[in-house]
Every structure is written in structure tokens, then in C-alpha cells.
Symmetry: C2
Subunit: 172 residues, 2 copies
DNA sequence: CTTGGAAAGTCAACAAGGCTGACATAAACT
DNA sequence: AGTTTATGTCAGCCTTGTTGACTTTCCAAG
């Protein structure tokens, strides 16, 4: 059944496809479930000390990644309603972690920046998260990491892939 | 441009480690974020038609995987409080999707099973989720899938890895 | 210059699904 | 007999998501 449609690689002889069985897929599904829990565990722990939640972390992360981003852009990335995001942003602005500057070109827009305090919290959170990710990467090795990223990218909604693409010329 | 992607391949001599840069780790973090959204999108859509949420899906999934599992075991896997799980289980039992049988060996325990209706919903949900996973797997290829699973496993909390290990004798 | 509509903010109300704490029951263990 | 374990349940709280309605600001097209 199913004509292979480019199983990407060699599969030299037998067209194995054993990695596509329902059982293998179920294992992948559970791997995502358990891994995502690990993935968020460290930041969640830290956030408790600040009376913030995962929603604040997400906002902080993407403001840090794209300083000056607008509220609308953030709404698109995060996929929540403006009311929901606004509640979170208000807390962060009130607490002095985020600065909201009226746009110069278009004064309706607000451009979001982390303050020094915001940058410090971002650092604390992402240090923890990166640390776990680094350990996983190191233990798995570069080829596994490449596969990891390839599969995750395929799993995204195509619409979201464009936000992920923001790649980074990373300067030489 | 960028020799960047090459780290997946050769790495023959130089102990490159370029895949462990903060920038690469940040990309991995965002990949997890966006992919997890895609991963849950289809079931979430279906669940709306039944007035259920992700919590119900998780319970249904693991009861299906391990028919006859106890409440305590489920609590351990899901990592929530019994009050939280109980609210969900009560709804599923009341709606006739899950059956709760008193244990024979130990009558304090309740063993959980999906009814036919429960199995039908499980099927609908996992068909959707597997479909996306299958497409991702197929597009990525078996070696990428192996890497994907390796990294995810490393990312789990060690405690959770044992639940993941429960390979499969669930005698489907 | 007026006006339509986009961007943003805000208020109110509600729901899902986490949490804690307290308490009840039955069964098993010591 | 007394303690622990497994489960269930009530009550209340919090975070974070949702709709809907409304206002203010302000760009841009008519």
C-alpha cells in the first residue's frame, strides 16, 4: 500500500518502511509527550519564583529573539488572542521587564523590548532550557540532532514554519 | 551558504561541536515549541466536537496503551494530581467511554478500560495524530526519525523514561 | 479634510485544567 | 488493633485560554 513518496534515504533493498508502523508512530507520539514535559520542566520551576507562568516565558523568549517586534507579530507567533497576550504583557510591563515603545513609522504599533531586568530573567530561563537541550544534543550526537530538527520541522503547521525560518544569517 | 548543515554529515576529524552553539540550541528550542503545537493541533480540533480537552485525550491514550492500568499508575505517568485526573476520569466514565473495574487481587485498586465508544474516540484521535506523524516521518526518512527519537529520549526526565520504555506488550 | 479601517488597549464574563487542603472509605499490611 | 495505601470527593484558588463589546489612536484613501 502507499507508494513510498520519497522515503528520503537509501533503504537499500527491501523498502522496509518499518519505521512507519502504527506502533512506531505511537512510540514517537509518546516520545513527544514525555520530552515536551522535560523540555518545559526547568523553566517552569524557575518561573514559580517570580509568580509567572509559561505564557510569560513565551512572550519573553520571542521579544528577546526579535527585539522591537510588534504586538501583532507576537500574536501571530504565539497563536493566542490579544486579550490573553495583553494580560501577560501588561504584567511584564508593569513589573519593568518589558518596554513598550510607540512606533515611529506607524504610531499605532507598539514595539516591544526587554529591559535589563527582562534580559536577566530571559537569561536565567534560557540558560536552564539550553542546558538540558545541550545535554540531550551532546548525548545524541550531531547526526541525531539533524534528524531531530528535520522531523520537528515537518511536524509544524506550514504557517508556523515561516516563524521558525527566521534564521539568522548568523553572520559569517 | 553556510557550512552549517554539514555538521550533520561528516564531522570526520575536528570535533566540530558547532551543533552545540547557543544559536543552534535556540533553534532547537523553538522547533520544539512550534512542532508541539502542530503535534496537538489535530486532536485538539477533534476534541472540540466532544467538549473534551487535551487532558481527556491523554487519559484515553494511556488507558488504550495499557488496558487495565490503575489510577495510581496513570497519575504517575501523567504527572497531575489525583483531583485533576479524577475530574477527567469521572467525565469519561459518566459518558461511557471508560470503564472502571474494582481490582481482584487488590480490591482498593480500580482498573481502567476503554469501552467500545472509548476505543472509537481513541481511534479517531490517534488516526489524526498518527497521520501527521506519519507524514513527517515519511518526509524526513528513517535515519532522521532515529535521531529524532534519540534526542527526545535524552530530553525526558529520567523518571519518565521508564514509562516510555514500556515498549509494547500491551497485546493489542 | 473626512472617514474607513487597522492596531492596540480594556472591561467583563466564562471555561478548562492545573493546584492545595481536608476528609471519607475500604482494603491491605504489620 | 492500628497504620498505611488507593481511591474518591468537596471546596476553593490560580493561570491561561476563550468571546464579545467598546474605545482610542492614527494611517491612508477618497
Amino acid at each position: 500500500m502507499m507508494a513510498d513518496r520519497g522515503t528520503a534515504n537509501a533503504l537499500v533493498s527491501g523498502e522496509s518502511l518499518l519505521f512507519l508502523t502504527d506502533e512506531q508512530l505511537r512510540r514517537g507520539i509518546e516520545a513527544m509527550f514525555f520530552a515536551y514535559r522535560g523540555f518545559t520542566a526547568d523553566p517552569d520551576r524557575i518561573l514559580q519564583n517570580y509568580a509567572y507562568g509559561r505564557a510569560h516565558h513565551r512572550a519573553i523568549h520571542f521579544i528577546n529573539r526579535s527585539p522591537g517586534t510588534t504586538v501583532n507579530n507576537l500574536l501571530d507567533i504565539l497563536g493566542v488572542t490579544k486579550q490573553s497576550l495583553n494580560r501577560v504583557l501588561r504584567a511584564l510591563v508593569d513589573d519593568g521587564l518589558v518596554e513598550s515603545r510607540v512606533g515611529t513609522r506607524d504610531k499605532r504599533e507598539r514595539h516591544l523590548f526587554l529591559t535589563d531586568a527582562g534580559t536577566a530573567l530571559e537569561r536565567e530561563l534560557s540558560d536552564a532550557q539550553r542546558s538540558r537541550m545541550r545535554a540531550a544534543y551532546r548525548a545524541a550526537g550531531p547526526e541525531a540532532v539533524a534528524g531531530f530538527r528535520t522531523v520537528l520541522e515537518q511536524m509544524m503547521d506550514p504557517d508556523m514554519r515561516r516563524h521558525y525560518q527566521t534564521t539568522t544569517e548568523s553572520a559569517s
